[in-house]
Amino acid sequence: MNKILLVDDFEMIREAIIDYLEDEENFKVTGQAENGAKALEELEKNDYDLLITDISMPEMDGITLLNEANKKYPDLKILVLTMYHDQDIIRKCLQCKINGYMAKNSEREKVINAINLVLEGKQFWDDDIEPLGELIKTR
């Protein structure tokens, strides 16, 4: 059973995602945080296989979190789940070590599929985020 840390400042989103993944046997959301700082604390405390995080958050944003997590937990898999599709942000994310980037408002099945892929050690880049494909190529 893979353990997932879910980071999003919006509680309802967190609830909804947990609901998404409730029935899955391969992985489970075992921790959540509402910002980057809290997430780092949680990583300190418990072990996680996958970090699912948003980018825009108060106190510590997602980019900082990614950098810190990369430094401290180089083996931690990361899937960015966000509504920010600006190339600036994507570029910054891609400068970190992440395993996937996807639109937050994706269908349930797509999210589950992405998580499975990432956990298998593969990458997932969301087709619906238009600049992403090009930016991956030039990464």
Binding site: F10, M12, I13, E15, A16, I17, D19, Y20, D23, S56, M83, H85, D86, Q87, K104, N105, E107, R108, E130, P131, E134, L135
Partner: protein
Amino acid sequence: MTTQTNHIYLQRLEAALEGAGMGLWDINIETGEHYANAIWWSMLGYSPEEELNNFELFFRIIHPEDNRKLKDELDSLKKDKKESFDLLIRLRHHDGKYRYIQDKGRVVEWKNGKAIRAIGTHTDVTEKYLLNKQNETNKHRFEAAIAGANLGVWDIDLVTGKNFANSRWWQMIGYDPDEVENLYNLFYERVHPFDAHKVNEAIDSLQKGEKEKFDIVIRVKHKNGNYIFIQDKAKGVEWRKNGKVKRLVGTHLDITETQQLTEQLRFNQVRLKSAIKGADLGVWEVNLKTGIHYANERWYEMLGFKPHEIENILDFFKSRVHPDDQSILDQETTRLIERTSNSFDLILRVLHKDGKYRYIQDRSQVVEWEGDKAIRAIGTHLDVTENYLLTERLKLNEARLEAALRGADLGVWELDLKTGRNYTNDFWWQMLGYDPNKKEYSFDYFLSLIHPKDRALPLKTLEKLKEGKQEKFDLILRVKHKSGKYLFIQDRGQVVEWEKGKPIRIIGTHLDMTRIYELNNKLKTNEVRLEAAIKGADLGVWDLNLKTGINITNDRWWEMLGYKAEEHTSDLDFFISLVHPDDIHLIFESLEKLESGEIKDIDIIIRLRHKLGHYITILDRGLAIEWSKGKKLKRIIGTMMDITEQVNRQKLLTSALKERNDILEAVDNGFVSLDHDQNVTYLNSTAQKILSIQESELTKRAFLDLFDTVLKAKLKDAIKELTAHEKPVSFEVQLKEKRTWLCFSLYLKVDGYGIFVQDITETKMFHEQMLENSIRSMENERDRISKELHDGVLQELTAAMMFAENLKHKIQPESLRSNFEKLSRLIRKVSNDTRRISHNLKAPDLEKNSFRGLLERLIDDVNLTTSIKFEITFSEYIDSEEFNEHLKINAFRIIQELILNVIKHSKCTRAKVLVALSSEMMNIEVIDDGIGIESISNAKAGIGLKNINERINQVDGSFLMKNGKNGGLVTTIKIPVR
């Protein structure tokens, strides 16, 4: 036969031989015995006695060539047994000359088949032979002559029809001798129909024996179709027994050319003769080489001499030429001989036999040269004495007339109604300022000079003259002088010649009456003016006698002061009593000055008391007109004008002006008053301050020259527009160096232009600030909404969608599940839209990014998210600081909207964005290769374009959409930078 009888026969023979001039010879070839009679011997100049036995002689005197001939002949006699011979041999006469001898002989005795004796006769045929020979030579010569003379020769037998013609004959008419069978027929057919009778008649007369030969000229058709002239000479050479001609021999000569030349010559001669006769010309001709000369009768007659009286016409003529004319004659003759001229034409005075000089027109030319030497000269003489004298006299008369007319200042003209020709003397033209020598001006030209209102006058008069209704006329016309000024011309004239009751010649004179007219007019005008002036100006007139104190005045004088003339005696005292106490000194002072001569006239303004008690202001002017013997001033005449009203008005005006200026000084508007020539007539201090003008500058430079080129041009345009439309004009302008904004308002005044100037820099800045603030706050607001949407609405929507997803996953039955699926999809779409709106609303961050950088980012974004390939190009200085923030934001937003438009509507594959910045303007151009404007007409009203329009209006820009030359759409936006 007896000896007697023999002797008689011999005698007879001798006589016969003698009569026939025959020498007789008898020779025995075998024995050498021979005999020759006396004639034989004498024929050769010998006497028979002395040479009797010398037969050898014969062989000595025979011509060597003939000796052989004779021997051959004799041999042949032997050989061929011929019995007779007949030879022509030459024998040398005793005088050494050969004689032609006809030697006839026969063999009289044969022996063994050999001739042994022959007898023969000699006849001297020298003469005959030579004649014959001559004949042959002649014949040859004739042939040659015929050939040389190009003669065609023909020969026809009229009885047998046999004919002959030499080749020239054929060539003459273009035929080859072999071509034609019957010469006569051919020839006859080709004779010109008009000339056929000539041929017939000629042959007839020959046949009838009336004539022996003929010589006619006929036209014969050449083979080429042209007629040639042929001289046909012929004579009969054989006749029939009845006397009619049997054979004709003739010659043809082609005289076409000669004939034509002759015709021409005849024609010329006739013409020349008639010309000479008609022109009364004396004609002379000199061959300078041979001295042979010729002159016709008239030539001699002209000088009063007879031909026999003059030996050498050239020398004679020269001797008669007037000494004063000798040099010119010599000079011209030399020129002729030296070939520097072809001919001369002189008028020379030549002494007539009667002792008087005649004027002879001598026209000469050299007509023949031999190398450089003139060898033939021809000339004509014409007596032009009468003409010359007449001309001279006429010239003299004209000059006299001209002088006379000049003295009278008269221009003379003359009009020939028959020919329309006109004549004018020099002064006629000079009067109008034209050069008479040019004379290029016609009667019509003169008409054109007449004042349009007077132009009909001479034409009408001319009509009346022509109709005989009038013989004389006297008009005053206004005629334009070359200078453009109209002259008053008195045009007088009369008919001087009639033909069949109709006038054919009119002579007239022009007299310049301008001065008189002007003086007259001026005088008249002055009188009238004076009256009018007095009346119109409401002048009171006074006439003061200082000696008596009596002051004569007109009604107006009294009226002015509220009195009636009869109410008061008018004298100086009364007048003085009315003068305002403060002004009395003015009167006395000016009277003193006038008397002392310090001033020439009185010109003062005084106040006089009206009958009603109030004072009126009077302009009093006077002139001293009489002085007593003691140099004392005696009489003054003057006028009085009531100027109370004017003075009051002036006061009012002055105060109004002062008030105006005070007001203008008080307000913070600058005001400049210009006259029509744009000179400053007034400039308030504010204007001086605003425009930074020193008053001293105004005298040095024109008002408009005080400003930079931009302002100067704007002011010029404004004045132009103001003058054209007579409506106030306003404009705003920024003075570059000071960065101040000025507003100019111009209006039209009676005396020029009024200009208000206002410093509107603050207002402008305020507006700019306002605009920037409003844009900034709008951007802030958008940014806030963007964040709100993104961080609030969008998150919530996402959550909502996720719940819908969960429901879709978990809920039963299937029908409900599909509803949740739809709900989920719908919310996802709304969230995506919201995300995009939020993104677009996000303010461009100009603090972190350059304008250029922002746009590049924008294009990058677009290229990453669409299949259209966008390119952007920038001009230099695109990030200039002149281009302030709110303009940058606006431009960015506009470009953003344009790009969205392209993405949404153009269906293009490529698009280009050009952004150019100059000091005045930002140009934005978006070009795509899509479907163009027709197809997007609906979109034009769309929100995107509305937004663009609003933004453009905010910054006073302009917006143009049109289809590109190669399809697609071109959108051009211009935004003023300042």
